[in-house]
């Protein structure tokens, strides 16, 4: 039997992310710490000041400039990381598309927080859901340990796929909550991420290239199609890198989805991020009572793992989908809409109920989770869904 000595640290999600960044030792980190404040940047700048990393830290004047610096630096062939949340991510919006379209690997940590107005600093997914079609890979983590490991893997994923990648965690719930994080040795991290081998660099004087030219109707369409090819390719790279990571470090971090007691389940709840923790507890309670219920945690939202969902959910009778963001489409949250689309080709589709919860940091309690299960059991019994979406935990 292999003996692995494991080092466990008590870290918040922010600290875990900053710790991973320290061990990755990126070439350039550009970040704006506010809108709302991301502690990751503060912790990381201390590493810079103490000489623990030899990263070029660029403390910019806005998130728009943060991501613009990342674009310039990544085009120069360097390894790049940044961190943001909420309004800051919204301010980056324009350049997110440019980073992805120029096929520039950049790894960004996001503490998921609500968008204004009203101004709020607490958790929901409206920020990253707003950038879901920007061409970035999006990985939503459940806890601090998963953030740490996913972030290290994300560097390799982004640089192999030549795509930027967001690694997200729930604001406050995970960013500020302290948990056990099993960390690797610095050398192990360095060995895993290796060196970046850029395809092109704007610093290559001998082979000058033009990056970001005007591109009209005669080529733009083909470039978008080839960008999609890159994303399709990422669908192979993500599980390959995560598998390699898990094998190498004896871990079990999920790549696209995590299944929790879904074997023979007639009711399955699809959820993302930290809410999965509460829902796993409810699944245990219900399983005790003999209910065939399970949880499928969706970790990667972009690219969307529709093939996996279609396969895993094809025999489920009732599906509950948890959405921590609104679309204002009047047909529910973003996750439910995508899950519905993924299951559409099935001949026999499960009954599906969307739940909107936790906007602006409203706590998602065990009682709320039990209410979700009660509604799903009722749907199973009555064999019909009567509401397009249900707001859970809202004051009437």
């Amino acid at each position: 039997m292999k003996t692995v000595t494991k080092k466990i640290l008590a870290l918040t999600g922010n600290e875990a992310a900053a710790y991973a960044m320290k061990q990755i030792n990126p070439d350039v980190v550009a970040a704006y710490p506010i809108t709302p404040a991301s502690e990751i940047v503060q912790i990381f700048s201390k590493y810079v000041s103490d000489g623990v990393v030899d990263t070029e830290f660029v403390p910019v004047e806005s998130e728009h400039s943060a991501i613009s610096v990342c674009v310039g630096a990544s085009a120069a062939g360097a390894r790049i990381m940044t961190a943001t949340a909420s309004q800051g991510l919204a301010l980056m919006h324009e350049i997110l598309y440019i980073a992805a379209s120029l096929r520039l690997p950049i790894v960004m940590v996001v503490g998921n927080r609500a968008l204004s107005a009203p101004i709020n600093i607490h958790c929901d997914h409206s920020d990253t859901m707003g950038s879901r079609d920007s061409g970035w890979i999006q990985m939503y983590c459940e806890n601090a340990d998963e953030v740490y490991h996913t972030l290290i893997a994300a560097v390799k994923i982004a640089e192999t796929a030549n795509l930027p990648c967001m690694v997200t965690m729930d604001g406050f719930i995970v960013t500020h909550g302290m948990e056990n994080v099993e960390v690797l040795e610095d050398g192990e991290v360095q060995e895993f991420v290796g060196k970046r081998n850029p395809l092109y660099s704007v610093l290559d004087i001998e082979n000058p290239i033009t990056i970001g030219p005007l591109d009209l109707y005669d080529y733009y369409f083909e470039h978008k199609r080839s960008q999609l090819e890159g994303v399709l390719n990422a669908k192979k790279i993500i599980p390959a890198v995560i598998d390699e990571y898990n094998k190498k470090f004896d871990k079990n971090i999920p790549s696209f989805v995590e299944e929790y007691r879904t074997e023979d389940a007639e009711i399955v709840i699809v959820a993302m991020s930290s809410a999965a923790g509460t829902l796993k507890e409810v699944v245990d309670i219900e399983r005790e009572k003999g209910e065939k219920i399970g949880l499928l945690r969706l970790k990667v939202f972009r690219p969307f793992p529709h093939e996996i969902l279609r396969e895993k959910l094809k025999n489920v009778k009732v599906l509950g989908v948890m959405d921590r963001a609104e679309t204002f489409s009047t047909m529910g949250g973003p996750v439910s809409i995508e899950v519905k689309a993924a299951l559409y080709p099935l001949e026999k589709r499960p009954l599906l109920q969307d739940f909107i919860f936790g906007l602006g940091g409203r706590e998602f309690t065990l009682e709320n989770a039990l209410e979700v299960v009660d509604i799903l059991k009722k749907i199973k019994k009555e064999e019909k869904v009567s509401e397009e979406f249900i707001y859970i935990g809202i004051k009437e």
Partner: protein, 312 residues
């Protein structure tokens, strides 16, 4: 390093931007770009804001740039060049790039991408002290998109969003003084130049490139369709802008002001205005021309005082 280049020397160093770009006939900025790139003794990497220059020098699969070039968006040339320069520093520190490798980083932006939408990005980049030269080519409106007013548009000028109408005679605000605003950041080198005075322009670029840290040079760049004049007169218009002191040639080198050219006889600004269709509605409104002249005089006298020169 000698700061002055002969015309012959300069003519042998202008291959950074190839012919075959699609700038309008008479547009002076290709010449400005060639002079700027030709002034560098080391390899150059260019970052470009969205605008005329980006549009006419590239269209996939073609490019007029024979130096590495990056364009990201309209308002972020300052941040983009910061990123490239930071990566260069980091990769040197980590031994990926040899320690003695020299590259000059140059950002080009028009007035929209500099005075207006790109102002914050530029201000942040120079405050952080990145080692780069920012060259503004100032054609005084959003020319690429159809001559909309910018904060660089002069008082009284007709643009498509400050049209000279029955009630309002063009733009009713004076232009922002970007050179002074950049100088107020306290960066090592700030200058104003004109393609009419090419030797001065080249000297300024070469002086700027000697200095470690952020540098800024504003270059006047007339726009044939936007200003409304004969395409053969671009350089003449920049000369008149200098001779009327509408566009003084000066520099602020480590905080020290120097007026580089003092016209023997300062021409009235009307001489410059009346050559351009964008001001033609002002010609029968002497009070508006007086207002422009007043502002030109104020600024010119202030500059002379800063340089310690006698005003009269």
């Amino acid at each position: 390093m000698k700061r002055v280049l002969s015309l012959k020397e300069l003519s042998e160093r202008t291959n950074g931007l190839a012919p075959g770009h699609r700038a309008c006939a008479g547009c002076p900025f290709p010449s400005i770009v060639r002079m700027v790139l030709g002034s560098s003794d080391y390899p150059v990497v260019v970052a470009n804001a969205t605008g005329c220059m980006e549009v006419v020098t590239t269209i996939f699969p073609y490019t007029a740039w024979s130096v590495p070039w990056i364009h990201s968006a309209f308002e972020n040339a300052g941040a983009t060049v910061s990123g490239v320069e930071s990566a260069f520093k980091a990769l040197k520190r980590k031994g990926v790039i040899p320690e003695d490798k020299k590259i000059n980083f140059i950002a080009f932006g028009g007035d929209g991408g500099t005075y207006d939408i790109g102002f914050q990005s530029l201000s942040g980049a120079i405050e952080r002290g990145h080692n780069f030269l920012y060259v503004l080519y100032d054609n005084q409106a959003y020319m690429n998109t159809g001559v909309q007013r910018s904060s660089a548009t002069p008082y009284g000028a007709h643009t498509t969003t400050s049209p000279a109408g029955k009630r309002i005679p063009g733009k009713m605000q004076h232009r922002k003084d970007i050179t002074e605003i950049v100088a107020a950041h306290g960066i090592p080198y700030v200058a104003q130049a004109s393609p009419s005075h090419w030797a001065d322009l080249v000297k300024k670029v070469r002086r700027a490139l000697e200095i470690e840290g952020p540098k800024f040079i504003a270059v006047i760049s007339p726009c044939v369709p936007g200003w409304g004049y004969d395409e053969s007169e671009s350089i003449e218009l920049t000369r008149l802008a200098v001779e009327t002191c509408f566009w003084p040639l000066y520099e602020v080198d480590h905080g020290v002001y120097k007026v580089n050219y003092r016209p023997r006889e300062k021409l009235p600004v009307k001489v410059w205005l009346e050559k351009q269709a964008r001001f033609k509605h002002l010609l029968d409104k002497p009070e508006l021309i007086d207002e422009i002249q007043k502002k030109v005089d104020e600024k010119w006298e202030r500059l002379l005082r800063l340089d310690g020169q006698k005003i009269f």
